[in-house]
Symmetry: C2
Subunit: 399 residues, 2 copies
């Protein structure tokens, strides 16, 4: 699919403002961001799903507030210290979608949560014991989900793993009893079909999504049987922007946890999930040097990240982004960011186009999530209170 610079970045008034910016800068198009948030919320409502957007993409309180205001049921976070930023700002409910074993981290999260609802995940007896001990220390009930591996081969148990019914019974035995109010309450099963990022095309992603649904239904049958519960009494939560956008059916699914959909990126475009007009995050960079082969821009790996998509294992020829000169008379064909060093990007010099030193480019990155994590702030164009900066509040919160 030929990608072109969206109209929003070709409006003369916009260009004038952007030409004032220092570079590199991570630009958010507020209208596109707001539309992406609305579209996903409508998709969820239309399918009778709860939306629990993953904040690891944006790590930004302002955006989390937009998502909750639009109707999200709660937020999903990865690491405990990432969750903490949102809990301390009073945002929630929050699903901590990482298998946490360290009691100090759980204590921080539960302390910061106060009365806010927090859900945790586990995929091992050690994880269950750690969460049960935290529930006991805080004298509370803790809602938990068991992580199911639907093919990524990362965390979670396979639906056919004999350890799954065993773990389900272990968790059931850690429920509060008549003598105590603390314990674990098993509320659902959770999956992330991250292998979808490695699919060849839209149809490939749809197949991954449908297989995820099938495996999750199977896992629920196993867990309900093992714990002698009625069948639909466990929620099924699935994640990833590609699978959510391409899923042919959500039958039996309760919750979705996409993250990247707020920004989208070249990865989503490659899979045919979106067009460049739906991309909210762009990197502004300037040409600072050049030679016969390359224009050298001031955005390198410390701004654009070295992500080739597909869980970091891509084709080197794919490059590190597409770039357009922000100029009324610039071409619509993208330039290729072919290489990055830490503070420099190498853009293949176009044959029939003169790009002068100082020229401003908009770069469509391969993967928006690491770009946000590297930035101190977003330049938000067209926010309700005018063009402004938002902090990337939870960047670098990896513990």
């Amino acid at each position: 699919m030929l990608q072109t610079l969206p109209h929003a970045l070709r409006v003369p008034d916009t260009l004038q403002i952007l030409h004032e910016c220092e570079t590199p800068e991570v630009l958010l198009l507020h209208d596109v961001l707001a539309a992406n948030i609305q579209a996903m919320q409508q998709r969820a409502v239309g399918q009778g799903l709860e939306l629990w957007p993953h904040v690891k993409t944006h790590k930004c309180l302002e955006i989390a507030r937009m998502q909750l205001h639009a109707g999200a049921a709660g937020l999903t976070a990865s690491k405990p210290d990432e969750a903490l930023i949102f809990l301390k700002a009073g945002l929630g409910p929050l699903l901590l979608a990482y298998p946490v074993l360290d009691p100090r981290k759980l204590d921080r999260v539960l302390k910061a949560a106060g009365p806010t609802r927090v859900l945790c995940i586990l995929d091992s007896p050690e994880g269950a014991a750690s969460l049960a001990a935290a529930a006991e220390r805080h004298d509370r009930e803790l809602e938990v989900c068991i992580k199911i591996d639907v093919g990524l081969g990362r965390c979670g148990l396979r639906p056919t793993d004999p350890a799954l019914p065993h773990l389900a019974r272990t968790v059931a035995e850690l429920a509060p009893d008549n003598s105590s109010r603390h314990g674990l309450r098993l509320v659902g099963l959770l999956s992330h079909a991250g292998q979808a990022y490695g699919a060849a095309d839209y149809q490939g992603v749809a197949l991954v999504a449908e297989e995820e649904r099938r495996l999750m239904l199977q896992a629920r049958e196993t867990v309900c049987q093992a714990t002698q519960r009625p069948l639909p009494s466990l929620r099924l939560s699935v994640g990833s922007t590609p699978t959510v956008l391409a899923a042919p059916s959500y039958e039996g699914i309760d919750d979705i946890r996409p993250g990247n959909y707020v920004f989208l990126d070249r990865g989503a475009l490659r899979l045919g999930l979106a067009s460049s007009a739906e991309v909210a995050l762009w990197v502004l960079a300037r040409v600072v040097s050049g030679n016969k082969a390359h224009l050298i821009i001031d955005a390198g790996a410390k701004t654009l990240a070295l992500d080739l998509g597909a869980q970091g294992s891509g084709d080197n020829d794919f490059g590190f982004g597409l770039a357009w000169q922000l100029s009324p008379n610039a071409g619509l064909e993208p330039l290729q960011v072919v290489r990055l060093s830490e503070e420099h990007g190498f853009v293949a010099r176009p044959a029939h186009m003169d790009v002068p030193l100082g020229a401003l480019l908009a770069v469509l990155p391969n993967h928006a999530c690491p770009v946000a994590n590297l930035a101190e702030r977003f330049l938000v164009f067209g926010a309700p209170d005018g063009t402004t900066f938002w902090s990337v509040d939870a960047r670098a919160k990896v513990r």
Copy 2:
């Protein structure tokens, strides 16, 4: 070369302290760091060179102070806002080794510098004009170096480029004259043979270093002739840790600007430039999940970075780091970090070794510089005032 876990990370007392850490954490071995700083300083002194260490590797005031205290002539920074962190702390002299065109950035740097000596680089008439205008605004003389491209194909002019003598004359004409005290003073030529990171081995790096030296001597002749100066009146400054460590000769060179040598990493080991005992930066991570193929650790691309070395274009089979279990009875053979998602690392599960959930690993990253830039702090083991944290003061300063 077989790499083993250094002795420093096998001492029982050390292990006990490290086992208390939350993970992921970027660990610095203070003794190794101090020894690396001393060794490079001695190399410089022994060869009659000035050492201008590049701070983009560590972005840390404490480490810059160690370097200056050991005898460094000045610091090298990449982006202006990175330089600002060190200038505001009163550290310098400072070489701003990036072609800066934006007057706002130059104004910030010159204002923060006050009486501290600042040197800038340029590789175009536009760059010269921008620096001359800044010198005029601040009514000062500004020392500048012309950037020479010695084969990386990034910034700078090739020694044989007809634009080089032309640019040299342009700079000479911007010198202060009798009527004004502001202007540019051409003090040297500067190169970075970053292509050395892509060499096959030590001998390959040595060839790159020798070619860099030859090209720099040639460039100096051209520039001196064009500007009618006596021959050795321009300093020659070369950079990169690999070339500095492998150079067979420094004859005619005045200054070196290595950065990575303070930490070293798997990239340096691959080139035969160092052993693992000389690596000061390690990433501590724990096993949080697992399956038949992989141990899953809590350090992903947001901690270890996706750098494959060699300017980001490596062999995918190289993986993303080597890992050792920190346990008295663990094996000496490293485990392979084969894949990263944002917050998870995939370590190939060893065939004949049981690594339990919660096990602590030390990961040797491919490239230390982006790891430091992703971290909020270093855990410094064995610092003079005990084990402590240092801030990564200039992380994310990309403008």
